[in-house]
Symmetry: C2
Subunit: 952 residues, 2 copies
């Protein structure tokens, strides 16, 4: 069995298309021809049908008429002919076949039609001709002008001027003589002017709209329209002088644009609650065909004015209040020529006031409008705008140069934007109320010879945007930024002054200025972030949670200042972090070994007189502690991995990123069939920052209260290690300020074997020995220290011969060098001297340079500065055990996290991609850590004289 | 100026709608009424129009007719009345107003129509009545049955049986008496049977389709249809006995379904190349209205048979060859009732053969088809399926019980699936050729009283799926899996035998079985992964790159075995990794301190006779080395962060995930307006694995050739450290197999001060001392070791008293314990003994237990086993410097990375979310590392007797 049939699209010759078999079949070649629809056969004109039940050709029976007869037009009878072939009746005559009662006449006679009638298309009956003929001549002849198929009196028609039928296109150099205007303009004008024909008036208006409301001629459609509209006697619709009865309302002439656009007559309080009645813009359009026929008044929903086709649900999302909508697509030129009917729209906003429903006219801002060559509607200020009413989407009629040729040029609405502005009253937005919406339209053109055959694709877009006449709290933001920046600068001053004292400087010098600069940058970054976060969080919460809409988001162009502020904050924070790294990597560190030699070593075999050599103190404890300190330098108090992956989890997996679209919807799950709005930068910032801060808080709680208490506190472990190794850590982060970890072993010595170490540990566990603190009977091992300048001078004196030695040793490693040995010697010397000096200082063993241990005042703690002047004595301030964190990344979490947060947001701002932002932030953070680790390692090797090979 | 107008939707009373002002205006109350369209006024019947140019009411002039006159029907004249009011002519009479020539008659006369005519709707002219009347009676009366507006002879109509007008619905308990059938069935049947009326035959067919082709009655539409079709004389279309001329083809009766579905008559070679002619399925449908009118033959493109509306581009994507398409949406019940016209479709596939274009009939599998109560088309095998031809999308006519009520029940096509099967010939797919497609349709029903008012939302879906009759290479995959698994098991046997020797076991015991089990799991995981990756990569490349389509992807149901295989591989790999961790965390480690005491320590003040005490050897070097070894345990040779973020970067940011959709498109960028197919699991696995492996390779190259050479090689550094610290590392990973790092200082001692250390380093740099190797004058410091069982026994003997000591010490730390001191003592004792024992062994100082250093044979290296039996002597095999990595994660990268890869893919398989997969994989990997670190640390503390507090 064959299941295929030939594909026969067009039946040729005398074949009809068999709709059951989808085949072409022959009509009887003698008696039949195919019917007009091509789906059946009918009898030829000289035959009469004797049987036709709508069956195939074979069931249609035809009978040839007798000689001298023809078939009637309906095909059911034969009739004698009066003339030779029954066809050549005179013009205005019919060939009568049946009487009015359906009785077949004996002969088909030529009969003259009544004066008021003309033959119908089949030529068998007379029909009344158009009233305009009768009005002029009282019969169906027209000796006076016949335009557009209508007949007018001698002086009733406007004589065309040179520009009457011309349409200007931007795409053409010279205006085009339009067949469409030639055909219809005069008739429409006359019908409208003389008889107030409703359709003709609409058509005249349309012809003016197609000229882009050209205001500069008296003899074109717009000139004619204005002449009729302006005639003194014409009554108005309501009190609107721009809208006269029976004519379309085309332009706003009575009021200036700025007044029209700030009318506050729309009482609807629009809501963001999806279930509310007033959560959509109820826009209606009255539609008219190009020739003026009324096509009804209906909602714009369902994509009536959207050229981009999409699902109805998505297209209707454009009218959900407070949803910034934007769609864009490509249309094919040939579709624009063939598949769009030119239709005109008058737009209204429907609202209910009390029990009555009202339509409020929506003004149109036609971008292409020209007055004497200037594009008035492209001006920035709206005072000179010419608002209009009627618009179209595609015009493929005005460019025709003949009735049956396609238009030489077509126009299409390449950009449509509905701009909705929220009302404000003395700076206070009136909740949910709006000014009249404004429809901004821009037309583009395509030229047949360039674009039709190549089927050019053009982009059209449709947008709905919302604005507030307020400045989006920008003033408030600026004010907050100003005030807080001032406070920040003052604080930076205080901080830099505190630093000056710590650096031991008496006067404010260039270094202090630098410090002030960097402190200032850090503060400004904080201030900017706080303000931006506050503002955007306000937007997020109040935009997403509003019932009556009183807040709309800034659109892309208005986000510029936000972007600048954020970029500035990021820039400042970057410099701040850079400063932190350099600052920490230049600090002075020294590991004080308290171990003394156990005495002199002698061999059993030595004679008693041999005093032996001094037993060396093993350096390995120092290596161990330095190595651990080096590891602490790379340590963070938060997990950047956790931070980033949790961000991605919440944003991408849970879907919080769906909160950042420019619509008031606050669902985390978005149905793919729903319209998804463009992302809003400010919302993305708010959501990302919010989650980031929450996660930071969570991490802080975890690390501070769980991890460090119950799992592992690296800082505490390090202090323990120091105590066991009998080594103190002395860090000078500024010239005279720093941190001290007292690691002197309570057992006096630590450089011993495993058994001894175990014993020591056990003794401490059993509380059989003294406490580890610096002061007798105290546990306090860690201190902030502020030292007199004299100390620093001494310190520098010891280090002086060493300046650059370690570096040089490093640089020359492996190469035999004359001076190298000597330098190494010097450095060892300096190390020993420094060790002795610091040990003596801590043991109060140095005259003139002494210290006291005390608690910091509360205010000192809060301000992170010292009130006492260490002129003669240094101060050791008891701390909470963690102060020395500040010399490490570990104690500067907030700065680093803020940097990472800003980096995340900046990257997202650039690429609108959270995944990429997370990856780059992680890389950035890891890079910082590596830099800090490398710098810190080099610094540690240099300052503690521990070879870098042991810092692994 | 007021810019609002009242909203007037319906004009009431004698008002017309002013289309210019969108207002209701009054018609003249005396002379006018509103026109039919409501947009203007016209004169009342008793008036004649004297002026009407289509203007507003005021411009329409009416003139009352004189007494006894009425206005003509066309309104332009008044005419005298013959009867009292000119209305009551007899039935079949007209009131004549004008002659056929348009001349107004003097009086409106009642005139009887000719026998073959009836009055028109206005009653002013006679028109010919339907042929069926004339056929029966030769005039326009019908005394015989009048059905559906047509007249038939006495015996020409089928007398209805009980079930003739009944339609059964699944939603209703009892069949429904359908108004639609009552109205149309008899007339359609009679017209089709008697006159072969083409439309009537189509309608009869439609009525049968609406019964779901019910084959069980002779007196319903299907019974009638079959009777006419089966009449002996009816000619066929082509050689198809199911398709008789002039009637629709409804069912496939001639051939069984399995033959129809494996016809190979479609010659088109379909292509996946988008530019090719044959890259789309050219499906056509012939459309018929419910009453049988032909609505044309056209392409299905543009969503003709898709109930889910979407953009045309997306809807047309359904017909792109090899694109698995699926769309689903919700429709509202009221729309189904009101906005869909019941239309019938016959589907064809168009193809070109030579110069002729052919339509190939596409069979329909109607899910709801019942034969005697059994759903034959729901059977698994297709031999008994009843294939049909015609289908509809929505049926809202058959359920009507009266002409003007909505249908009681409606049906809609809730699921439509077009199944395209690729041809195969003796197991070999013929490139690009297909069997006839099959359209599977399932209808659901809605009941008016339940669903209309609540406007129930129903889900409909439309799918296009592709199948191969081949088993998707599953046989090949199974075979490969079988063979390779066999090889894997053999290899596991070899490995476990090698292990047995290393463990010093002579017989195969339960432990060896366990080892074999775990080795086997690991091998199976590798084998499964390799096979799956190979298969899916094959699919990816050949599906995405094919020109002529010879491969389609398995659809969801066919992915089951893939999922099982992958899950099994993951399960095996997980156990393998677990085994690795436990294995490594139980290894024996000992740090041999080569340092000897420097002698006896005496104080300067001591008398010469005081021999002093033995100078202790500091334990800190051991602590340092142990600490570093502990850190090495946490080290990986790849960055999981890099791996995951680069994965996300390529998949999500660059967009490689767009390759994983079930269409042959291979673009990384997907236009949002394009259709995005469902993700394919196998493609996701292939793409993710492919990128993962590439990135792993990249990382390996980076680490092996760049990082470790030029930046930092932790393993090398550790070996250096050992040498400087004068400490050797002795690792026994199995009973008698392990690794040895020779760290004996070339300077003889290392426990010294900074000066000495510097000197030592310098001497080595200047090549002034011996080489570090174990053998004299060699550099070889690292070895694989295989020791005799005697050694192990000795080793165990030393450790025996210690069993559990370290653990107990740990457990009791801080609590005074009677036995504790003693145990600590024991452990120190053991430590010292062990140190001495191992040092002596390495110095060849122990009789009976000795070793030789040699190179491993190439085959030994490749197979990772030893051929020699260390019965009397141990072997130290020179290695490449990195063999001891194998005791760490660092040397087991491939196992770990494969585990991570499988974890990534498994998570993605479950959640279809690469971001989540990356996060979870990172967490999993970090968790493994933590477990390894914690276990390793505890083990290290226990075995080397270094207190855990120093392992930080």
């Amino acid at each position: 069995v064959t299941y295929s049939i030939p594909f026969q699209a067009d039946c040729v010759g005398n074949q009809y298309f068999d709709l059951a078999g989808l085949l072409c079949r022959d009509c009887d070649s003698v008696s039949q021809v195919k019917s007009v629809d091509g789906l059946s056969c009918q009898c030829r004109p000289s035959y009469k049908t004797t049987r036709n039940f709508g069956g195939p050709s074979t069931t249609v029976e035809c009978e040839a008429c007798a000689a001298g007869q023809v078939g009637t037009v309906d095909g059911w009878n034969c009739i004698d002919c009066e003339t030779a072939d029954c066809l050549n009746c005179n013009a205005g005559d019919i060939g009568e076949e049946y009487s009015i009662a359906g009785v077949l006449q004996g002969t088909k006679t030529c009969t003259t039609c009544d004066a008021a009638t003309l033959p119908d298309s089949a030529g068998i009956q007379c029909e009344r001709c158009h009233e305009s003929f009768l009005a002029v001549n009282n019969d169906c002849t027209c000796n006076t002008p016949l335009v557009g198929g209508l007949c007018f009196g001698v002086n009733e028609i406007q004589a065309p001027a040179q520009d009457t039928f011309q349409v200007s296109y931007e795409a053409l150099d010279a205006p085009l003589s339009s067949w469409y205007y030639m055909e219809y303009l005069q008739a429409a004008e006359a019908m409208c002017r003389l008889y107030q024909n409703l359709t003709a008036c609409q058509m005249l208006g349309n012809l003016c709209v197609l000229l882009h409301y050209n205001p500069n001629s008296l003899n074109d459609a717009c000139g004619y329209f204005e002449a009729i509209r302006g005639a003194s006697a014409t009554p108005l619709i309501g009190d609107n002088p721009d809208w006269v009865v029976y004519m379309p309302w085309l332009k706003y002439v009575a009021d200036p644009a700025d007044e029209i656009l700030t009318e506050i007559n729309i009482p609807t309080k629009f809501s963001a609650e999806p279930t509310s009645e007033d959560s959509t813009l109820k826009l209606f359009v009255a539609q008219y065909s190009a020739t003026g026929q009324y096509r009804g008044l209906g909602s714009v929903r369902g994509g009536v004015i959207q050229l981009c086709n999409d699902t109805e649900k998505k297209m209707n999302a454009a009218y959900t209040f407070a949803t910034s909508y934007s769609s864009s697509c490509q249309l094919k030129a040939q579709d624009l020529w063939n598949n769009y009917e030119t239709t005109f729209f008058d737009m209204y906003l429907q609202y209910t006031e009390g029990s009555s429903t009202v339509l409020y006219a929506v003004p149109v801002l036609l971008d292409n409008y020209q007055d004497d060559g200037t594009f008035e509607n492209r001006q920035e200020t709206n005072t000179n705008w010419q608002l209009t009413r009627r618009f179209f989407l595609v015009d493929n009629v005005s460019g025709k140069t003949a009735s049956n040729t396609p238009a030489t040029v077509i126009r299409y609405a390449s950009s449509i934007e509905l701009l909705v502005t929220l009302q404000d009253e003395a700076g206070q937005t009136r909740e949910g109320k709006i000014y009249p919406p404004l429809l901004k339209i821009q037309y583009s053109e395509l030229v047949y010879e360039n674009d039709y055959d190549s089927n050019t694709e053009v982009t059209v877009n449709f947008r709905v945007t919302y604005e507030m006449s307020r400045d989006y709290g920008e003033n408030a933001l600026s004010t907050a930024l100003g005030i807080l920046s001032g406070v920040g600068v003052v604080w930076a001053l205080v901080r830099s002054n505190a630093w000056r004292r710590r650096a031991g400087l008496i006067y404010i010098d260039i270094k202090t200025m630098f410090k002030f600069f960097f402190f200032g940058l850090g503060m400004l970054a904080d201030v900017f972030f706080v303000c931006l976060f506050g503002t955007t969080l306000y937007w997020l919460f109040f935009f997403k949670r509003q019932d009556l809409v009183y807040l709309v988001l800034p659109h892309k162009a208005q986000e510029v200042s936000f972007i600048w502020y954020l970029s500035f904050a990021f820039f400042c924070k970057s410099l701040d972090v850079l400063h932190l790294i350099v600052y920490q990597c230049l600090s002075d560190v020294f590991l004080i070994d308290w171990e003394r030699s156990r005495g002199r070593v002698v061999q059993s075999s030595d004679p008693g007189s041999n005093k032996g050599s001094v037993a060396p103190v093993s350096i390995w404890r120092t290596y161990f502690v330095a190595n651990e300190w080096n590891e602490l330098q790379e340590m963070r108090r938060s997990s950047i991995f956790f931070q980033m992956s949790a961000m991605l989890f919440f944003l991408e997996v849970i879907g919080l990123k769906n909160l950042t679209t420019m619509d008031p919807r606050s669902d985390v799950y978005v149905d793919p069939s729903d319209y998804t709005g463009d992302p809003s930068r400010v919302l993305r910032f708010a959501v990302a920052s919010g989650i980031y801060l929450l996660l930071s808080l969570l991490q802080w709680i975890f690390f501070a209260f769980i991890y460090e208490r119950f799992i592992a506190d690296s800082m505490r472990n390090f202090v323990d290690l120091c105590s066991m190794a009998n080594i103190s850590v002395f860090v000078l982060i500024d010239n005279t300020f720093g941190y001290y970890i007292h690691g002197r072993s309570v057992h006096g010595f630590a450089d011993t074997d495993m058994k001894e170490m175990r014993d020591q540990l056990k003794r401490e566990e059993d509380n059989l020995c003294g406490q580890r603190g610096l002061l007798p009977n105290s546990e306090q091992q860690t201190f902030e220290i502020l030292l007199p300048m004299k100390f620093r001078e001494q310190y520098n004196t010891i280090l002086q011969p060493l300046d650059g030695v370690a570096a040089r040793i490093d640089g020359t490693r492996g190469r035999p060098d004359a001076g190298r040995n000597q330098e190494a010697e010097k450095s060892i010397q300096a190390y020993q001297t420094m060790n002795r000096f610091l040990a003596a200082f801590l043991d109060h063993g140095i005259r003139d340079i002494d210290y006291v241990v005390k608690d910091k005042l509360l205010l000192e703690q809060i301000l992170d500065m010292e009130f006492y002047d260490p002129a003669d004595k240094g101060f050791f301030f008891n701390d909470g055990g963690h102060a020395f964190d500040n010399a490490l990344f570990h104690g500067n979490e907030s700065t680093l996290q803020l940097f990472e947060l800003l980096l995340f947001c900046i990257v997202d701002l650039m690429f609108t991609n959270f995944v990429l932002a997370a990856i780059i932030t992680y890389i950035g953070s890891a890079f910082l850590l590596k830099v800090r680790a490398a710098g810190g390692r080099a610094n540690l090797a240099k300052k503690t004289l521990v070879d870098e090979r042991f810092l692994i």
